[in-house]
């Protein structure tokens, strides 16, 4: 009689154990699926961090100061080189677009003329000055007309979101 009770107990406990095992297996599977879904994002982030680590740091300015600062730097530096920079297209307030992680960008166009004889040296220097700024060059063109060369650059100016 005791054996019968024991057998029944074993069977019931066994069924419960198998049920719990299945439940845990299912739960483990769900966790594994979560890991599998989150891992690619982490790997992509790591990959981007590797690329970022290899890049030169260029601290960003707040959105309301960024354009003014860039133009001031370019005008001052190019004047020293004997020419000047003009802002062809200025962004309205609403044209700032969010990039990521609190970084925002806007599109501007700057141009600068130079004498044909001195143009090569001037534009090389100006290009270097431009690349030191927190900008991304979308497109650029050099046009030679008679004795004047004009460099026109479409830029994306990067800045920190908000008013700083």
């Amino acid at each position: 009689m005791n054996l019968r009770v024991l057998r029944l107990t074993f069977i019931i406990l066994g069924i419960v154990a198998v049920f719990v095992a299945y439940d845990q297996y299912d739960a483990g599977d769900r966790v594994d699926m979560q890991i599998l879904s989150e891992l690619p994002a982490l790997n992509a982030t790591k990959l981007e961090m590797r690329a970022l680590n290899q890049a030169t740091p260029k601290p960003l300015r707040p959105q309301n100061e960024a354009l003014e600062y860039l133009l001031a730097r370019l005008v001052d530096d190019t004047e020293l080189l004997g020419s000047s920079v003009r802002l062809e297209r200025s962004p309205a307030e609403s044209e700032w677009n969010t990039v990521n992680h609190g970084v925002t960008k806007t599109a501007i166009t700057v141009s600068s003329p130079a004498d044909k004889q001195a143009g090569l040296g001037y534009f090389a220097m100006m290009w270097e000055l431009l690349l030191r700024q927190p900008v991304s060059i979308v497109s650029a063109s050099l046009k030679v007309q008679d004795a004047v060369i004009t460099l026109s650059v479409d830029l994306e100016l990067l800045a920190l979101e908000g008013g700083g």
Binding site: A17, V18, V20, S136, S141
Partner: protein
């Protein structure tokens, strides 16, 4: 293990320690000194058709006379061969403490003749075929010889016992009176069971000689001293076919039920252990996965913070690294192109790099030196920024221009 044969309901012939003793059941205790298996000659043999053992028991309960004990073996898919004796005979045998297994005689003789060594051959002549080997061969040949008729004539004490087997089936078992005519009784028996052309096997030379003289073909076999008849040769320790008293049967059934209960309990315990084991494995797996997920999220959190800081600090730098150097491309064209050409414009976008070249106008009035497209292409290939660019001549109204285009 000693052996004995119950010839009739009273008389027993026992073989122990190479000695043969004839006694009555009542005197068994004084004769037997060791555990003895008893083969019972006076048994009733019947065949019953039943699909299961349960239905067989039900049928036998109705068919057999009251106070019978029986044992059975399967002879076909749904046919059982049943041996029965009076319970009182078994009870009187069981009264002796030395009596072990009590078995029907017929199946022993049937099995024994397959083990017996034919007379006139020696052990050496038998070669590697041992008794066990012969027994094995006998079992395997059983299927092939299933319809073979065999008559075994044993000499037990002063009594001759005739066993007729048709394949696996025991047709009859008879113990002859010492004064009966052997030839006549053999003829009557074989005719009675319709086995006139049966093989006849015996271990006794006198029986063999008598039947040979009577025109019968008899196979003489040798039996060892410890089992001095063909049937006793088939009596092994713990035989599968045994008679049991009702109380013994009840005890056996009870023991069997207990054993089954114990086995099923062990099975249930194993099931529980397997279930617990699986639970352990799956819980461990889940916990490990959760730890991995927590680590991943922690790493993700830390990485995200670092990533945000790095992104704000270096994203602009990362974009600049990919920027093409336009003044350098222009300079290369100015220096590398043939002197007949000058650069009109250079442009760069995210996808391509383009340039437009035109013929140089000189103030001096002399003919322009000729310029081939091949020369221009060679010059383009020498320029690092423009290597691989496509050169296309463009015909204008009054002048010829050249367009360079290269995918970034």
């Amino acid at each position: 293990m000693a052996r004995a044969v119950l010839i009739d309901h009273q008389t027993l012939v026992a073989y122990s320690g190479g000695r043969q003793m004839q006694t009555l059941i009542a005197d068994l205790d004084s004769v037997l000194t060791e555990e003895t298996s008893v083969a019972v000659v006076p048994t009733n043999v019947s065949r019953v058709v039943a699909t299961t053992e349960e239905t067989l028991h039900q049928q036998l309960h109705d068919k057999l006379p009251q106070g019978s004990v029986y044992c059975f073996e399967k002879v076909d898919a749904a046919v059982y061969q049943v041996f029965s004796i009076a319970e009182s005979v078994l009870a009187s045998l069981r009264a002796c403490s030395h009596v072990g297994a009590v078995v029907p005689y017929g199946p022993l003789a049937r099995d024994g003749h397959k083990i017996a060594v034919p007379s006139g051959t020696t052990r050496q002549e038998q070669g590697l075929i041992t008794r066990a080997g012969r027994a094995f061969l006998g079992r395997t040949e059983e299927i092939a010889d299933v319809i073979e008729d065999v008559t075994i004539i044993d000499l037990i004490g002063d009594r001759r016992v005739i066993t007729c087997a048709h394949g696996f089936e025991i047709r009859t078992v008879r113990a002859l009176h010492p004064e009966d005519s052997l030839e006549r009784e053999v003829n009557l028996t074989l005719q009675g069971v319709n086995m006139s052309s049966s093989r006849i096997i015996t271990h006794d030379r006198a029986i063999s000689d008598r039947l040979t003289e009577a025109g019968r073909n008899v196979e003489l076999v040798r039996v060892p001293p410890e089992a001095p008849s063909v049937a006793l040769l088939g009596l092994r320790k713990d035989p599968p076919l045994q008679f049991h008293l009702a109380t013994e049967m009840a005890r056996m059934r009870r023991r069997s039920a207990q054993q089954r209960l114990l086995q099923s309990t062990i099975g249930a315990a194993v099931f529980l252990l397997v279930g617990l084991g699986l639970t352990g494995v799956t819980v461990t797996r889940r916990l490990m996965a959760e730890v991995r997920l927590a680590d991943l999220r922690q790493e993700q959190f830390q990485t995200t913070q670092t990533h945000s800081r790095l992104f704000r600090e270096r994203y602009a730098g990362m974009l600049t690294r990919r920027t093409f150097n336009l003044p350098q491309a222009w300079a290369e064209l100015e220096f590398m192109m043939p002197p007949q050409l000058e650069v009109e414009s250079v442009g760069v976008t995210q996808e391509r790099l383009t340039a437009m070249l035109k013929r140089r106008h000189l103030d001096l009035d002399f003919r322009d030196p000729p310029l081939s497209l091949g020369e221009l292409k060679e010059a383009v290939e020498l320029s690092a920024s423009w290597q691989g660019a496509v050169v296309k001549p463009i015909m204008g109204d009054h002048e010829l221009k050249y367009q360079l285009e290269k995918m970034r």
